[in-house]
Every structure is written in structure tokens, then in C-alpha cells.
Amino acid sequence: MILRELSEATGVSGNEREVRAVVLDAIQKHADEVRVDTMGNVLALKHGADDSDSPTAGHRHIRVMLSAHMDEVGLMVVGYDNDGFLKVRAVGGIDPRLLPGTLLQVGPDHIPGVIGTKPIHLLKEKEGQKVPQIENLVVDIGAKGKDEAQRLAPLGTYAHFVTQFRELGPTVSGKAFDDRAGCAVLVELLRGARFHFDLHAAFTVQEEVGLRGARVAAYAIEPDCAFALEGTIADDIPKDKDISPTTELGKGPAITVMDRSFVADRRLVRLLTDTAEELDIPYQIKQPGIGGTDAGAIHLAREGVPSVTVAVPCRYIHSPVALLSVDDFNNTVRLMRESLSRLTPHTLTRRQ
């Protein structure tokens, strides 16, 4: 699974180099043009097939953008104490409850580190019930004093989670499935047969800090429509109240109709749900109003881009380890491939 290489590569927002290398290697042979833009996005073009027998032939001129972001959440070194511990801040949304005792790697040389925590033996009463904030945590890379810490991890050095990718039968686990799952789906789509239209793939940077890469990618591509591919929240763990979940593992790809960043184009939602119904591919509508994706930036490019987000449900995203269902992953690839095969200018025609 390409997801293994993608997941194990590191790419905290603004430092996507390793992931970019994996992506470039994976798609080079399957795209007609590949370039890296000024922000660091990988933009790949795969021309449409000239297949005159196909019912969708003659629609080569539609410009379809598929995006997945390469970056992941992580930490950045912002200071030191005199004993050589690193002070850090979050890059992207990180839940501080998950941090104490977590293994990290620091900097381009992947210096091993651990987020320091007081052993349980020494905890004072009630101290163990409080969640330490990131500002109060330190990263221990074993440096002997401030000078060594500064030399090993200069200010601004990134730190990232370290989690081995594991196949657990029907599920796989690893880090950064948000959004390496989307990257892997996009790689699979590029590796398959040509579509009837020019496919513009964008592996974007800096999504987790404000949808930044996607914005310029969409400006450059000028698409007629866009699909953001994601790894999204699955919160199907036991709950007190019957008022959610966001998505559930094993129930198929999750289609967004509205989140905090945009309202999805209903024609594209319908294309996806009609295709799924027709082919009996499981799917779910993601709980509206939660989260945001690159589609929030893409739909605003130039004169506007009808957009939708399709995601592989992942448990425990934005933590050191996430878990997804292989069936969901494969069904996401299949739903995308089949839906795109049915996409024509008519899909984007408005009746009113």
C-alpha cells in the first residue's frame, strides 16, 4: 500500500519535503506533466484519453481538480531552558491531552525525542487530573544544556510524531492519515487508466495552518470543478448521547455537504451519491458543520469553483496514530473513479 510510505514520511505544515519526494516518485510515471509550484505544491496533469467510443468522449476540455494535502500536524521548537529541554508550540490543531510521554523525532535528521512528563510516582494529588498545556511541556532530546539543544535543534526546527504503519487485518494504523489517506487515494487515481478529461492533481501544502497551498494551486489550475480528498474524523466510539457520529468506520467514503469552510456543490454531491447507489458502493454523508478542508479555499479561486470533499473515515486523527478501514479506502478510490467516469459538462449544467 502506498499509504505506508506516505504515512511514514514526515511533513509537518511548511516542511512537506519528504512527503513530496514520496509523491513525486509514486506519480512520475503516471502523469504527463509534473511540477512543484512556488509554495511547494505538487501539480500533476494527466491528459484525458481520446476514446471515441466512450459515452463521455468529446468532454476532454473539462478541467477537473483533485486535491489532497501532504502536510500533517506537528510541533515546532520555539525556545530552550537552561537544562537543554526544548520548548515547543503546535503547528496545526493538536490536542494537548495526547502529548505527555509521546515519542517524537526532531529536525531533518530525525533526532529521537520524547515529550517530558513527570512519573506517576511523583504526581501530587489532583495534579494528574489536569491537562498540561503545550506551553508548559518540554521535549527531551537528551541535550546536555542549552547550547547543545540549540545546536541540535535550532529555533524553528520541526518535530513530528513517529508511528510505524501497521496492517491489522481489516484496518491499518499509522500517523498522518489526515491527509495521507487522501494523498494515497489520489495516487491510486493517477495510477489507473486515463479519464476522458484532463485530470489536474494537486498535492498541497499547509492545509492544517489555513488551506494555504490549495488556494494558489486552484488559482493556477483554474478548474471547472474540484474534489478535495481527505482523511476525516470517525468518532464512532461509544457515546452517552445519540446525537452524532461525524462518520463511522466501515460505512464507506464520507461525502461532505457543508463544513466550516464551505458549502459543497450539490450537483457534485449528487454525482457521487447517484454513482454509489447505482453501483452499490457504501457511502455516508459526513456530519455537517464539522471541520474544514482545502475545498474551502479552492471554491473561492478566481470566478469560483464548484467543489466537494470526499474522505476516508479515520479514527483518532490529529493524534500520533490513526486507524482506517481498508474497505473504506478501496471504496473511496472506487467511488471517485466511477463518479469521475460519469462526469460530463452536463453534470455542471444548472436546470434553473
Binding site: D224, D242, I243, S244, P245, V257, M258, S261, F262, V263, A264, D265, R266, V269, Q284, I285, Q287, P288, G289, G296, H299, L300, R302, E303, G304, V305, P306, R350, R351, Q352
Partner: protein, 328 residues
């Protein structure tokens, strides 16, 4: 104009599903437009050609309205929901919402709350469509709905849901219908997705590349009992926006509106809005920048199912816009 306003406010079109209202507006403007197009996100752009070498002017009103969207249907068939745009939980309880297929739901509130005197959160409310189980519930996750409430005209006051911003749409339509001659290239933008992300106005303006843009939208008032102080009152004329929480009007646009109002003896007020914004905030930042301003229709109870405006302010908004468009 009342019939037009009634037709507009009673149309069902929350942000993201503006097909219905677009069809209604299109039917009203088709015969008087020189050119008409629906742009990629769904905004309706109506072009009226100018007779001289005037400016390219955008008049914008958003056609979407706030609403709710189903986030979960429970085992008993009750639907949980989130807001489309800004929805106040206080105005939800007991309200009715209508889905696209005309299914009506009542909004109920959990009674087992920690503190019953506190304003509830949206997640403590639910929509009851009368279903008995999740299986027979006619509404599904992702279905949008809008508040329902009939249009009422009482004296000079007009009361309805979605005055924000169908009243702006009505002003634009009426302005276009009465517009006889203008030196300017006028683009009426009936925008989508204002209540959620100000998306439609931004992308439409990019396509038009105007020299100036004016949003026509509602604004709050300071004329109710014990309300937050604000120097805008119902019935005292359209309000020329000075600033709101996300934009400062271009002084040239603001001054133009004030000057034309004075010349034509049209009552007007100046507006400083502390909370809220309009499409103008998005339009002024398009491309290399667009001088933008906003003509506001004073409105009480914004984002409730019973928004109240004054007919005279509406009429005076049309008059003022005509003055702006008909002079060089």
C-alpha cells in the same frame, strides 16, 4: 413592491441551495436585463448596459438565507442539526422549519439541561418531524431546512423570515425595473453563500472586475427597548455604512451615497455596525481591490424568523440607488 417582497421572502433557499430563489429572481429580471448569467458558484449576474462611458458598477444582494441542516437522526426519529449561517438558539425553540420537500419540523429542546436558565446550545435542540423511528424519518443527514413564517405587512412595517437579504434582492430588482437610462455598466449580483462564507459575492466580483461595488443588505437598529446602542432606526431612511466588523467603506463610495441622498432630498442615516458584515467585505478585497460600500436597510430581529423592516426605507433605498446610477 409588497407582492414582490412576499414572493421573495417566502421562497425556500438556504445557503448552498439557491436554485428556487434564483428561478424567482430570474423571472423578475429576465425581460429588463441586457444579459444574464449564472456563474460557477451559482450567483445570478444581471447586466444592464450603460449608454455612456460610465463606470462598471456592481450592486450586490445575497439571495441565500440562514437555515439549519440535519447532522444526525436518532433511533426515535428526532433530527439533530447545525446552523447554516448564524442561527440564535433562543429564536429556535418552538420555531418551525421546512425542508425542500415541504416536510415541516418543530424545534424542541432537551429538558434535562444542567442549567435551565442558561441560553441553550444548538446541540441541545432537535427537530421533530413527527417520525417514530430513524427508519421512517423523512429527513436525512445533510438535508437543509429554513425557518417558516408568513409575510405580514402592518402599517409601514413588513415582517417576514429571510428579509436578510431578500429585501436587498427586492431593492435591486425594483431599481433595475425603474432604471431608464444610465451612463454606467450596471451589474446586479444576486449572490450565493453569503450567510456561510461570503463566497458568491467574492467570486462574482472577480469575474466582473468592477470599478465600484455596493452591497445592499440589512443592518441592525438601536431603536428597541433596552437594546445595544446603535444610531440606526427603522423608518429613518436607508443607512449608508461607514464601517462594520469586517470592512470599512471606501470613503468615495460612502460620500457618493450621502451626496446623492442630499441632492435628491432622500432621508438617510449613517451606520457603524459593531457586529456583523456583508458581501462588501469580500468584494473590496477582490483582485487588486474594489472601492466598496454598503447601503443598508434597517432591520429589527435579524437572523430570527421574524425580521422587520420599514417599507419607506425600502422605497428610499431604491430611489437612492437610482440617483447613484442615473448620474455620471
Amino acid at each position: 413592491m409588497k407582492d414582490l417582497i412576499r414572493k421573495l421572502v417566502e421562497t425556500h433557499s438556504p445557503s448552498g441551495t439557491e436554485e428556487n430563489i434564483r428561478a424567482v429572481i430570474r423571472a423578475e429580471v429576465e425581460s429588463v436585463a441586457d444579459e444574464l448569467r449564472v456563474d460557477p458558484l451559482g450567483s445570478l449576474v444581471v447586466h444592464k448596459r450603460g449608454s455612456g462611458d460610465g463606470q462598471r458598477i456592481v450592486l450586490d444582494a445575497h439571495m441565500d438565507e440562514i437555515g439549519v441542516m440535519v447532522t444526525h437522526v436518532d433511533e426515535k426519529g428526532f433530527a439533530r442539526f447545525t446552523s447554516i449561517g448564524g442561527v440564535n438558539p433562543l429564536t429556535c425553540v418552538g420555531a418551525r422549519v421546512a425542508f425542500a420537500d415541504r416536510t415541516v419540523g418543530v424545534i424542541g429542546i432537551e429538558e434535562k439541561r444542567e442549567n435551565n436558565s442558561k441560553i441553550p446550545k444548538l446541540e441541545q435542540l432537535y427537530i421533530d418531524v413527527g417520525a417514530t423511528s430513524g427508519d421512517d424519518c423523512p429527513v436525512h443527514v445533510g438535508d437543509p431546512a429554513v425557518f417558516t413564517r408568513p409575510f405580514v405587512a402592518q402599517g409601514t412595517r413588513l415582517i417576514a423570515k429571510a428579509m436578510d437579504d431578500r429585501i436587498g434582492c427586492a431593492v435591486l430588482i425594483e431599481t433595475l425595473v425603474r432604471l431608464t437610462d444610465t451612463p454606467h455598466d450596471v451589474f446586479l449580483v444576486f449572490s450565493v453563500q453569503e450567510e456561510t462564507t461570503l463566497s458568491g459575492a467574492r467570486t462574482s466580483t472577480y469575474g466582473i472586475e468592477p470599478d465600484m461595488a455596493i452591497a445592499v443588505d440589512v443592518t441592525r437598529t438601536g431603536d428597541r427597548p433596552e437594546c445595544h446602542p446603535m444610531a440606526v432606526e427603522l423608518g429613518k431612511g436607508p443607512a449608508v455604512k461607514v464601517k462594520d466588523s469586517r470592512m470599512i467603506s471606501h470613503p468615495a463610495v460612502r460620500d457618493l451615497l450621502v451626496r446623492r441622498a442630499k441632492e435628491a432630498d432622500i432621508p438617510y442615516q449613517l451606520e457603524v455596525l459593531e457586529r456583523g458584515t456583508t458581501d462588501a467585505a469580500a468584494m473590496q478585497l477582490v483582485r487588486s481591490g474594489v472601492p466598496s460600500g454598503c447601503l443598508s436597510i434597517p432591520c429589527r430581529y435579524i437572523h430570527s424568523p421574524s425580521e422587520m423592516v420599514d417599507e419607506r426605507d425600502v422605497e428610499n433605498s431604491v430611489r437612492l440607488l437610482l440617483e447613484v446610477l442615473q448620474s455620471a
